[in-house]
Symmetry: C2
Subunit: 419 residues, 2 copies
Amino acid sequence: MRVLLVGAGGVGSAVVRIAARRDFLDHMVVADYDPARAEAAVAAVGDAEGRDARFSAVRIDAADREAVRQVLVDERCDVLLNATDPRFVMPLFHAAGDAGVTYLDMAMSLSVPHQAQPHEMCGTKLGDEQFAHAEEWERAGRLALVGMGVEPGLSDVFARYAADHLFDTIDEIGVRDGADLTVDGYDFAPSFSIWTTIEECLNPPVVWDAERGWHTTAPFSEPEVFDFPEGIGPVECVNVEHEEVLLIPRWITARRVTFKYGLGQDFIDKLRTLHALGLDSTRPVTVPSDRGPALVSPRDVVAAVLPDPAGLGDRMHGKTCAGTWVTGSKGGRPREVYLYHVVDNDWSMREYGTQAVVWQTAVNPVVALELLAAGTWSGAGVLGPEAFDPRPFLGLLTDYGSPWAIREQGRGQEPIGKA
Amino acid sequence: MRVLLVGAGGVGSAVVRIAARRDFLDHMVVADYDPARAEAAVAAVGDAEGRDARFSAVRIDAADREAVRQVLVDERCDVLLNATDPRFVMPLFHAAGDAGVTYLDMAMSLSVPHQAQPHEMCGTKLGDEQFAHAEEWERAGRLALVGMGVEPGLSDVFARYAADHLFDTIDEIGVRDGADLTVDGYDFAPSFSIWTTIEECLNPPVVWDAERGWHTTAPFSEPEVFDFPEGIGPVECVNVEHEEVLLIPRWITARRVTFKYGLGQDFIDKLRTLHALGLDSTRPVTVPSDRGPALVSPRDVVAAVLPDPAGLGDRMHGKTCAGTWVTGSKGGRPREVYLYHVVDNDWSMREYGTQAVVWQTAVNPVVALELLAAGTWSGAGVLGPEAFDPRPFLGLLTDYGSPWAIREQGRGQEPIGKA
């Protein structure tokens, strides 16, 4: 398999490190707007003798559909793996379509709030732009595997596993994400891209239920305290706009699908302030610069003043947990489980030199690539992770040294064993 | 008198409007980095027949000392009035010195926190850079009248009036600033330059007392609720770095001098968040722009996303109060007074088309210019407003249609009449 990886930021660089330890890859072209980042990601793998010849670096402008198509053709790639921020989903998705290759991403095309009732109704939903092309992709027999990170991604695989193996009927599927990470020397240091975090958290959260279908609420709605496993403990979670809510109901029958993020009150307050001041905006404003008056996006400035989360791993401590909480019934009796995956930052730093949140995002598309390379997973159209058999994915994730677990909630909330 | 006014922002434009109604001015050259702003300030005055010929507009770079000196010479100015933000104090102060003209400003040269103990000791204090040149100015027989806005400015005049006429001995002089302004359609809209507000509020506040001299505290220290007059009511005030604390003790004997600003908890929280995120910083960061990667100051971006306070007057409601609270004794009995000046936004908008906070800042340097033109005030050196006789100033302020008042605090906190 020959892969074009677009984006050599934190997640892209971790994809390279993880993929380098597996055999399925013939070649991976690592592409970034900043050629130094692409070079650094490639230079980080390989033995003492030199680089791993399976990896090479190129400069690319992810917004330039035709240029990306040309690289895919020149490099004879089978797959484009998108590890950029969600602004570049559509040009990369189309470039893969143009070149006739498989497309994977970890976040979907952006939403646009409903004009009149943003906190009640959906406008353009996450992924709508991509799903609008589903028939084309299906007719052409090509696969776009969308939302294939950890959340969305592994969380959707968990949902499918629960539906296939743990439940007869499902009431609610609630993705729940929480962590106890701290960063030495920083009062405030987000552990994931602040650009994406702002996008997720300040857009109206989307909820799905069988009666109303998809609808929205006000940001930070329906707070609940969720007790995360493996010592993380209780964290305040709120509704956040996330792809799982748009993906899961397309393939799995449930009465309700939600996503809640364990942001904590301090983080919520800071995001609210950024929003109140207009600093979350991507609409450019004119400011003085060393190049004269320049148009800049306030959100890019917020990202620039905060430390790069990918570079904070050696100051971070704690664990991050991604998981899917499912309620329903099995064999006529009520059941409640939380399927989850925890990464300890000390472990991911020691093993891969990559911080926990970034590593947890990056491992899942590599597992998916390996399943596609082997032909274990295959399909055509625009498909979410829950469209595939979850068992080989979960098995391979454990083979990667990062097992998942099930907590049977009815039994005192203890994990019943690693899978 | 011929004046070079540098800065045609909110305060500069209001200076033009106020000065245009008085006779003392022979000519005022209105200068700004943006020639359109200078033109607009000049175009706003004059009768139906055309412009007021006493005003003209030029472009100027306030950071370019030599260029400013040249304009002062070419235009045969007697005075430079600085209405820019405090970054430009030193080049303008020196340009006036070079040209041998009188210098006025409304904010003084910037402070630098103490390296090791920023919340206990002063580093470079507000105005230190200017006072370092006091002897030169004095020897040359030239006047730099510094801190001649409302606070510092009128507040210092009040302090001098209290010392001369209301007290035998003074315990504390506490400048207290509060407002009940709201802005229709905005959750958050500062009523004064956010650049300056951040500078004032996030620097360690300075306090003076007879034992320790000048020293600092942590930002937002010593909160107190002060009951402001004329219906504004109680507002939470905290210590803020301000020029009065540096100026008053140089000319007036008191046991303690403080400045507290009625920020309110919401505003304090927002400033704390800006600081926690590093968005208050003036240290440039690299961000994408329409001109390619550009170096911009995060604080400039904060200012650019917020509405321009000078343009909000027609959406604003309420009053702003600046004043000086003095405790001590007179005739062997304890006394406590609050000398204050309130501007109602409806009044300043109706009379001048200028919002209250900006108008209140701008009127005071115009009064001072008129006193200097008449020879009523004169002096040599770097002098604060408290170095002059306060009575003609306070009389003229009332002539401008904007009276001040004294509240005798011992008598149930009622104003005892306009002066």
